[in-house]
């Protein structure tokens, strides 16, 4: 029984990780395949990458997505930090239940509903849809994720440092920027990264609230993917995966280097 168990745990872990990673690894391998067919290895080739970088509409969409992701991630990090501070530091206040409800519901709300609701708001207000409507939509969803990340950090946090700063005469704002912010900076960075990748990744909400001239990368990819597997999209996917891996590795190293200083 115990021997069986001992054999089972690497099997479970290995199987789980294989299931999670195999499709991603296969996709990256395919992007270097000279053949169009997924089952035939036509030799190593970079031709899909050259095709990708000369695909003007795709490149343009990527640039739109990057700009939207930068702005919305910055907004979401600020708003998420504010929401997290409100929930962890302000104790019980009138409307707290309503506020937490609003702050958490977007985490699970199906995207089609958020997209439709925001579209109706923009149409009702007579706003032209485009870059900024997508920014607002992405900020709304990702601020909830940033709030969760930053709230977790603030919850396990020694408030006596803030109190000491304020006892010494610092205003709450000053205490935040001098004491709290440096301590929660790693989680704010993580929150920003998550908000950025979520914005870069969103297809459904952007499809509803975007307008002419603001076609995002996922929207462009989706319209090509619907026609089947194309090697060019494999290459685009691999570039995106590489960016995420590099970004996370940098974030991981930064957080590791800062840790000893914190203790």
């Amino acid at each position: 029984m115990t021997a069986l168990r001992r054999a089972a745990s690497p099997l479970v872990l290995g199987g789980g990780l294989f299931f999670l990673y195999a499709p991603i690894v296969i996709l990256v391998l395919w992007s270097f395949n000279d053949s169009r067919l997924v089952t035939v290895w036509g030799g190593f080739s970079l031709r899909w990458y050259t095709a990708l970088f000369s695909n003007a509409p795709l490149m343009e969409a990527a640039w739109v997505s990057i700009r939207i992701a930068l702005v919305s991630a910055a907004l979401a990090t600020v708003l998420g930090t504010m929401a997290a501070l409100t929930l962890t530091r302000h104790g019980r206040f009138a409307g707290r239940t309503a506020f937490t409800g609003m702050a958490y519901a977007p985490l699970v709300m199906p995207e089609v509903m958020i997209g439709l609701a925001l579209l109706l708001l923009f149409v009702g207000l007579g706003v032209d849809r485009g870059f900024w409507t997508v920014v607002i939509a992405h900020t709304t969803v990702s601020m909830c994720f940033t709030m969760v990340i930053i709230r977790a950090r603030l919850a396990g946090f020694d408030t006596s440092l803030e109190e000491a700063a304020m006892d010494l005469g610092a205003t709450p704002a000053r205490a935040f920027f001098l004491v709290t912010a440096p301590l929660i900076a790693p989680s704010m960075a993580a929150a920003f990264l998550l908000a950025f990748t979520m914005s870069m990744d969103d297809l459904v909400i952007a499809s509803f609230v975007s307008g002419p001239g603001a076609t995002t990368l996922p929207m462009r990819i989706y319209s090509q993917v619907r026609l089947g597997v194309t090697p060019e999209i494999n290459a685009a996917s691999s570039v995106l995966i590489a960016l995420v891996v590099v970004g996370l590795a940098v974030a991981f190293l930064l957080m590791r280097r800062r840790k000893p200083a914190l203790r």
Binding site: A8, V12, L13, G16, L17, L20, P23, I24, I26, L27, W30, L37, V38, T39, L79, G80, M82, A83, T86, R89, F99, T100, G101, M102, Y104, A105, V108, M109, P110, V112, M113, I114, L116, A117, L118, L120, L121, G124, I136, A137, T139, T140, A155, E162, M166, T171, P172, A173, L194, T197, D201, L203, V204, S207, P218, Y222, V225, S237, L240, L248
Partner: protein
């Protein structure tokens, strides 16, 4: 901390009100519009629905618009088998996928929680990592694997297990694979969070008292993991009910989930009121699970603060 003589100065008021105002304006208010539009009718106009509130007429305009509201969309939702079927399909797939996710996710979380501390964090990171890469891309990757001339069929043919390619792509099986694959990190995380906090001496005590491992698992581990199981199940079930990308890319005509129906009402038929009516029904169905999930999360947060 700031509870003593709380007089919020400007900066603090901003911190407190900015997120609340943002969420009210861009999350809560739009849903009221969805509800209202669900009672309107489609029109070939810009915007493509009627009635439109005529603000220039003041209250009379609002009143006129209110009188124009109809229940037709909901009557159609109930009478047209397409809508009922797609709602049932969603429920079926979301429930089945939740059960499958528990069956796949629980052993992973269980093994993870029992790893030595240093390795545990690294392995957990590896489980979460795919969540950071594009959802769309990960779903797309399965097309190349599952399609008739794809990798899986090629492997099975080569192994001699099948003699002709299986039709997996565009079926319910492909949708299930896509759902389980995409939501696995969401299931493993809450399960892991409760399992890692579990006191192992309780298990040992149960076994010392003569319980078999299976029995100890049933009467110690499972009850202790129950909040994590519920949280993981809800965290996956709720968004899966309205899933669009997975049934659209991997499914076929018979896997018409409700999110896809809403999408096609909106984009193909340009029937915004009908799409809104579907959203209202979906919201009504999901309200109870969302509230249940919120209560669980609140209790978990309170527990953490109390420690």
């Amino acid at each position: 901390m700031s509870r003593r003589g709380y007089r919020a100065p400007g900066a603090q008021r901003l911190v407190r009100w900015a997120p609340a105002i943002w969420l009210t304006l861009f999350f809560a208010a739009p849903f009221l519009l969805v509800v209202r539009l669900g009672f309107s009718e489609a029109a070939t106009a810009q915007p493509p629905y009627r009635p439109v509130i005529d603000w220039s007429e003041g209250l009379a305009g609002v009143w006129a618009a209110l009188q124009g509201l109809r229940l037709d969309n909901y009557a159609l939702l109930l009478s047209d088998p397409l809508y009922v079927a797609s709602a049932l399909t969603s429920l079926q797939y979301a429930s089945a996928a939740t059960v499958l996710l528990l069956l796949v996710g629980f052993p992973i979380a269980h093994v993870l929680a029992r790893q030595p501390e240093g390795r545990r964090e690294l392995l957990l990171l590896l489980v979460i990592l795919p969540f950071w890469t594009s959802f769309l891309i990960r779903v797309y990757a399965w097309i190349g694997i599952l399609k008739p001339e794809g990798l899986l069929n090629a492997a099975l043919l080569w192994l001699g297990l099948i003699s002709s390619p299986l039709q997996i792509m565009n079926t319910g099986v492909a949708v299930m694979i896509g759902l389980v694959y995409s939501y696995l990190p969401f299931m493993v995380l809450p399960l892991y969070a409760t399992l890692v906090k579990m006191d192992h001496s309780l298990l040992e005590a149960a076994q010392d008292l003569g319980a078999t491992p299976a029995r100890a698992f049933r009467s110690v581990t499972l009850p202790l993991a129950a909040p994590g199981i519920a949280a993981g199940a809800l965290l996956c079930f709720i968004p899966m009910m309205g899933e669009f990308v997975i049934p659209d890319l991997l499914g076929g005509s018979d896997t018409l989930m409700i999110g896809r129906t809403l999408w096609s009402e909106f984009f193909s038929n340009r029937d915004w009121p009908m799409a809104s009516a579907i959203a209202v029904v979906l919201l009504a169905v999901l309200l109870a699970p969302i509230l249940a999930w919120r209560r669980l999360e609140d209790r978990a947060a309170d527990g953490e603060a109390g420690q």
